[in-house]
């Protein structure tokens, strides 16, 4: 099992956001996580990536190792990647420079040699084609003055360059028009393989037309309240979360703004 989450709780101060998440993701699988706002989806993504704002209990094993014991950068080196819902801007730091620094940091940690500039450029250019980014992106500062769609494509570019084992996409589709969605999905699908797993957090079923999930989970009130195959997403699309029953309704009242 690539990822095993058992009874995961996370809180900030008195505010408990994750309230016992259980999830297993095997290599080669794509899992979609859906659910209403404030149900803890982004918190789950942040906790897996190592955000330090939370008090955490429970276990998370990544390829059998205790993921929670690792620093964010060590998790990245181990192969965990988070495509952020709101990628930050880093003024004055060139996009290409940032990406090369990141790649060489994880390569060093993984015991691979650093890529020189030429080797890196060749790789970056190839992956940029996947997400249809032109070279002008590379000399701009990281995400600075990028449109919403450009930021999301940049996240996917980083993902395809860093080649993680487990990629978590936090609402990568939100705010994208249909062309951008197709491009982003193309980048994601290029990464799919028997050794890799994807966790896709989304509000919309339409992304799952492009990235077809093996399993769909519904989060509500800090827990996964229902799981199923891809048909569950269609059902949710048709009927909304209200049909999920009393559990969701009561949990929603207990949950609060989950995104730190």
């Amino acid at each position: 099992m690539m990822l095993q989450i058992e009874n995961l709780h996370a809180q900030i101060g008195e505010n408990e956001i994750l309230r016992g998440v259980n999830l297993e993701v095997a290599a080669g699988e794509v899992h979609a996580i859906m659910g209403p706002n404030g149900s803890g989806k982004s918190t789950l993504a942040n906790v897996l990536a190592g955000h330090e704002a939370y008090d955490i209990t429970g276990t998370v094993l990544f390829e059998g190792e205790d993921l929670l014991a690792l620093s964010p950068e060590d998790r990245a080196a181990a192969g965990v990647f988070l495509a952020f819902q709101h990628p930050v801007e880093i003024p004055g730091v060139g996009n290409l420079y940032f990406l090369r620094t990141a790649l060489n940091s994880v390569r060093r940690q993984r015991g691979l040699g650093e890529l020189d500039v030429m080797g890196f450029l060749a790789l970056a250019r190839e992956r940029m084609k996947l997400v249809e980014m032109d070279e002008s992106f590379m000399s701009r500062s990281v995400n600075e003055d990028f449109s919403g769609g450009e930021k999301k494509r940049n996240e996917i570019l980083q993902m395809t360059v860093l080649e993680p084992k487990l990629a978590i996409l936090d609402e990568t589709d939100s705010g994208l028009d249909i062309d951008a969605l197709r491009i982003v999905a193309g980048g994601v699908n290029a990464l799919r393989g028997p050794d890799r797993a994807l966790v896709v957090i989304t509000h919309h079923q339409r992304l799952l037309d492009y990235i077809v999930p093996d399993q769909v989970h519904v989060m509500a009130g800090g827990r996964i309240v229902r799981s199923g195959d891809k048909h569950l997403a269609l059902e949710l699309e048709a009927h909304g979360y209200a049909d999920l029953g009393q559990e969701v309704a009561s949990d929603r009242s207990a949950s609060v703004g989950a995104t730190p």
Partner: protein, 481 residues
């Protein structure tokens, strides 16, 4: 959580890596200052009478002055009678080549990573190495002489080119300018002199490394650069100093003169000993730097990266006298531990259509206090004058401070003066983003800070830009708990 507050604690406790001193055989005059000491300095340097007289006029004026305290910095009283005003390594006779330079000295430069041998091999960089006030080695002199450029120690210039030194000395920073400039005028020991004749583009970057070595030696450098009509020069100044417990006063004066159509680019990387984590020791860097765009269409650019010194107090300015002349000031100032910096620039617009640009990036960490103080003045004659000022401050941790004091005086109605300012912190989100991509917290802080400074770094000559980035990274090293 290990966040920025840990960075700051580690930042504060970081060791100064250039803290060593070299056992050179030093020739010193007794502590203290009086007319006899000035006469002794002048005599040791075999100076002409006019220079001794100038020194004495400065000294007599200086003793009527009181030390200024309007700056936003705090330090204990300086005992000017407890300072040694002259120390020179005893010269070995006839230095025919670098191989004959004092091996101790060579070792010291090696530790600093600027070995002369290496510098000599580096194409395009001439080094006039100053140790404790006296130049000991000069390279590339011949190549410069071939095109008529004079680049030598100030003392040599006084001996060999008095007709070039005398009309310009004090022409931009008069000996009555301010307390520390006046003191410098009285007791300056050495520095660099650079003269680029009409129409000549200096074929290489000129570089000087200053170093304060003997204990308790105030250092009073004096540099004069004159670019004649249409001449062009880029001058690099970089400095490190060994660790000392007692504060050391450094009061330098730099004067630049650009005649019609001339361009002078003056770049500084300053990394003097900043004092320890509790704020003990460190250099007092009270410097007067000013350029005069004397002729039309001339241009003077100051670029500085200030990471060292316990206290930095300097305002490299430009007097924009010639019509259409351009003045620029690009600055990165980093204060950590208990460092204090009060720095900025003065742009004095006199000529018509004169333009000035100011970009200041201040980084404060630990208990560091960073003040930008800038004057933009357009006189009645400065029709069409324009200025754009941008001041950005970056704070690391909650004990540091950033302050901005812009002074704007506009006397001509057509003048346009713009001032932009911002203050920000390195955000947790930025750090998390970098770390999630595999970049360590330490590298991330360094990367974000370097990004913040990029606008200034790109003004530096290539080799200095690399050094400046390295310096910032080194300054931020060990910033993760």
């Amino acid at each position: 959580m290990t966040g920025v507050s840990d960075d700051v604690r580690e930042f504060v406790s970081q060791q100064y890596q250039y803290g060593f001193s070299t056992d050179l055989d030093t020739d010193v005059v007794p502590k203290g200052l009086n007319e006899d000491v000035i006469r002794l300095i002048s005599a040791k340097k075999h100076e002409p009478d006019w220079l001794l007289e100038w020194r004495l006029r400065a000294y007599r004026y200086w003793i009527t002055l009181e030390e200024p305290h309007w700056q936003n910095v705090h330090y204990g009283p300086i005992d000017y009678q407890d300072i040694i005003y002259y120390a020179a390594p005893k010269p070995k006779p006839e230095l025919a080549s670098l191989d004959e330079v004092d091996p101790e000295l060579r070792t010291m430069f090696d530790k600093l990573g600027i070995s002369l041998a290496e510098q000599e091999r580096l194409s395009g960089v001439a080094v006039d190495a100053i140790v404790d006030s006296v130049s000991v080695a000069t390279t590339f002199k011949q190549k410069l002489a071939d095109v008529g450029v004079i680049f030598c120690s100030f003392s040599e210039a006084v001996q060999n080119h008095p007709e070039l030194v005398r009309p310009y000395l004090g022409s931009v920073v008069p000996y009555r300018d301010n307390y520390f400039a006046t003191l410098n005028s009285a007791v300056f020991t050495d520095g660099s002199f650079c003269f680029i004749p009409k129409g000549v583009h200096c074929p290489m970057e000129l570089s000087t490394y200053f170093r304060i070595n003997a204990a308790d030696t105030g250092q009073f450098e004096r540099t004069l650069i004159v670019a004649e009509e249409g001449a062009d020069v880029s001058y690099l100044e970089g400095c490190t100093a060994p660790m000392r417990d007692n504060n050391q006063l450094h009061a330098a004066v730099v004067e630049l003169v650009a005649l019609e159509g001339a361009r002078i680019k003056y770049s500084t990387v300053q990394n003097w000993y900043p004092g320890d984590a509790e704020g003990r020791g460190g250099i007092y860097n009270f410097v007067t730097k000013r350029g005069k765009c004397a002729g039309a269409n001339s241009r003077i650019s100051w670029t500085q990266v200030e990471t060292g010194s316990a206290i930095t107090w300097k305002y490299p300015g430009v007097i924009l006298q010639g019509d259409n002349s351009v003045g620029e000031f690009y600055s990165v100032a980093l204060t950590a531990n208990h460092q204090q910096a009060d720095t900025g620039t003065k742009m004095i617009h006199i000529g018509k259509n004169t333009h000035s640009t100011i970009v200041s990036k201040a980084i404060s960490a630990g208990h560091g206090q960073n003040t930008y103080r800038g004057l933009v003045k357009t006189l009645r004659s400065a029709e069409g004058a324009r200025n754009h000022t941008r001041c950005d401050s970056l704070l690391l941790g909650s004990d540091s401070g950033a302050h901005t004091f812009p002074y704007i005086e506009v006397k001509h109605p057509s003048a346009q003066v713009e001032h932009e300012a911002s203050t920000s912190k390195i955000s947790e989100d930025q750090l998390f983003y970098c770390r999630q991509r595999g970049i360590s917290e330490e590298d991330a802080v360094s990367m974000i800070v370097n990004g913040f400074c990029r606008e200034v770094f790109k003004e530096l000559p290539m080799e200095f830009a690399v050094e400046a980035q390295r310096l910032l990274s080194v300054s931020l090293e060990g910033s993760v708990g």
